[in-house]
Subunit: 381 residues, 2 copies
């Protein structure tokens, strides 16, 4: 693609009862614009990803509200909702805007505020019969975990290693919601949410925002070594397979194949990955969907520490959703920010040495079908 | 633009307590796909506009749910929220997707279900201080009406003519929510909402959906005389002017100028217009924003019946938001459907004779700034 990332910004993820969506969005967007060496007046179009502001706060057009605070007026502003891929869908659309010639410089924003005293953010459609029957998000992932355990013989203590690894990585990330390491025993011994998923097997709720500035690659030269190329940006909806195969995500496989083809690269070319570990089991199935190993061998990859920092293909150096946190609309953009920082070599204690090619994977909506949407972005320097 | 509309579909607008969002969206999308002579498998990407499903029903990714019902899987599906311009923003994005080369055939869907026993759809951000102070949507339009009356001497019985005209048009539209004509006395005598806006000066709440199928213009030839060209598709956010000029909408003027420039046409070239008459006063100010007459002369245009069916530039032949109805997310697409039907010459009793060029105008979010977003699409045969 003729698109490059020239600026990134991110807030700490966590619980910020005294900050609103505008505060969080402003901070991330301002940082990204400054990082690009631009001013707000240089932004020609903006895409804002958010999943919950309407449901939780009765908000409309949150992107415009945030941008007005930055003095950004009179440009095309689009608010996108695609469940957990809201932010990465905003990124995909901004890339299309650049490629279509509609804009030369675009801002992508992902923002969410979930830490509020409302117990209603775990369903994926309060109107769905499944939700009314109690089939909330952790329930569907627990079904996947049980199905995977039965089919491939994964042991609970192996699955818990995802949480151990990602908390270890998160401890190295100043912006992570949780910076404490955890042990296998702590993961397995934490309160049960939906068997076999314990609390430390599930990502937390929190607040946060992330932003990137993109432009045409031929313009990016003026931004020097900080520019990161977008080699592929793929968005696909899932399928409503009947019967579903709960131990696999065909939507991952299809999206990854399309992205690898677009980038002219394969999984063997990747140096670093951020993927959608909303629950421990998810990371293991995503390894397989992305082609890092054959079906059923994700646990082995993890146990052999290949996906840990220091391994051959570190996954979720940021701490992932499990430790860095998962303010839904921000996540897809935050993953891209992490990959950019890794490729720029500025990721500090969690730096993957000599990372040249990175992949960000995000999945939204799992209750029905194999996913509502999957995004894969491959970036390179 | 190298984009043409090759299929349109629309449901009746009204109160349908026994139909859900999937039912409504399915009906419109299916009709549009069939109208294009295509099958669901031909749709390469889809953009769905909706504003309220998250707030009212806790929904996510409503586009994917509707499309699965049509057997449309494994394509990029994007859910867009841009207040009242949600549907027309979806259309704008689909045009960019075609122009970028990401897809050759795209489905645009607008869908909304508002007729529910919840009294919470009139604010534009329940979290805003303004809303908490009681400054809901009809309040801001009443301020505009009072400001316009003071500045330009518009008389209430002149303003009421907008409702009289649009109800007269709506009576000719089988899909309109209200098909009864009304008199100036009935408009002025209906219950007061916010002075000077009476109930018949405000659009109703209702349910409905609309859809269009678009493709590259060079491919559209195979669809013969039914194809309608997109000459311009513009989306702009508004400004937060301080102090604001309440009797004008600069966001209209900027968007219209950009659209006329893109199309190589001017207001004098238009044969038919659908515009965002959420309240009677809005239609009059929009006349001026679109350049149909100088500031302050919108009432005169209306009184001289130039914007009525049979006049020199009929506005809202569908009945507009006031009579056809305003299921928010559907509106922007429904306006485009109406213009396409007019340009195809199949608008029946409300047909504008020999209409060759039409404009659809939509505005979203008015409480703060001069608008959160404005879309203008110019279509031609």
């Amino acid at each position: 693609m003729n698109v490059s990332i020239i600026g990134v910004g991110i807030t700490p993820f966590g619980k910020f009862p005294h900050l609103n969506l505008e505060n969080l969005g402003f901070a991330a967007a301002w940082e990204a614009i400054r990082d690009a060496g631009l001013t707000p007046a240089d932004i020609q179009t903006a895409y804002s990803g958010n999943a919950l502001a309407s449901q939780l706060f009765g908000e409309f057009t949150i992107g415009q509200k945030i941008l007005w605070g930055l003095g950004i007026h009179q440009i095309p502003v689009i608010n996108v909702e695609n469940a957990c891929t809201s932010g990465s869908t905003a990124f995909y659309l901004a890339c299309l805007a650049i490629e279509s010639g509609a804009a030369e410089v675009a801002l992508v924003l992902g923002v969410e505020k979930m830490y509020v005293p409302i117990k209603k953010v775990l369903d994926a459609g309060a109107n769905d019969l499944e939700t009314k029957l109690g089939f909330i998000v952790p329930g569907s992932f627990a079904m996947r975990a049980n199905s995977y355990i039965k089919e491939y013989g994964l042991r609970p203590e192996e699955m818990a290693l995802v949480s151990v690894k990602n908390h270890q990585h998160g401890a190295l990330n100043p912006n992570a919601q949780y910076k404490e390491t955890v042990t296998v025993e702590e993961v397995l011994g934490s309160p049960m949410v939906v068997s076999p998923l314990t609390r430390l097997s599930c990502c937390p709720q929190g607040d946060g925002a992330a932003a990137v500035v993109i432009c045409r690659s031929d313009m990016a030269k003026r931004f020097g070594s900080k520019a990161v190329q977008v080699k592929a940006s793929v968005l696909l909806s899932g399928s409503y397979d009947n019967p579903p195969h709960l131990a696999q995500w065909p939507a991952d496989t299809r999206s990854a194949q399309k992205a690898y083809q677009q980038a002219g690269l394969g999984p063997e070319d990747l140096d670093v990955i951020e993927l959608h570990d909303a629950f421990t089991i998810a990371e293991i199935i995503h390894y397989e969907g992305l082609g890092l190993c054959p079906p059923g061998e994700g646990g082995k990859l993890l146990k052999e520490r290949k996906t840990w920092l220091g391994g051959s293909i570190p996954v979720n150096p940021s701490g992932g959703l499990l430790a860095k946190g998962h303010p839904v609309g921000a996540t897809g953009v935050a993953q891209i920010v992490e990959i950019v920082q890794q490729l720029r070599g500025v990721a500090g204690a969690r730096q993957v040495p000599k990372a040249k090619v990175g992949l960000a994977h995000c999945m939204g909506g799992d209750l029905q079908g194999d996913a509502r949407s999957v995004t894969i972005n491959i970036l390179a320097v």
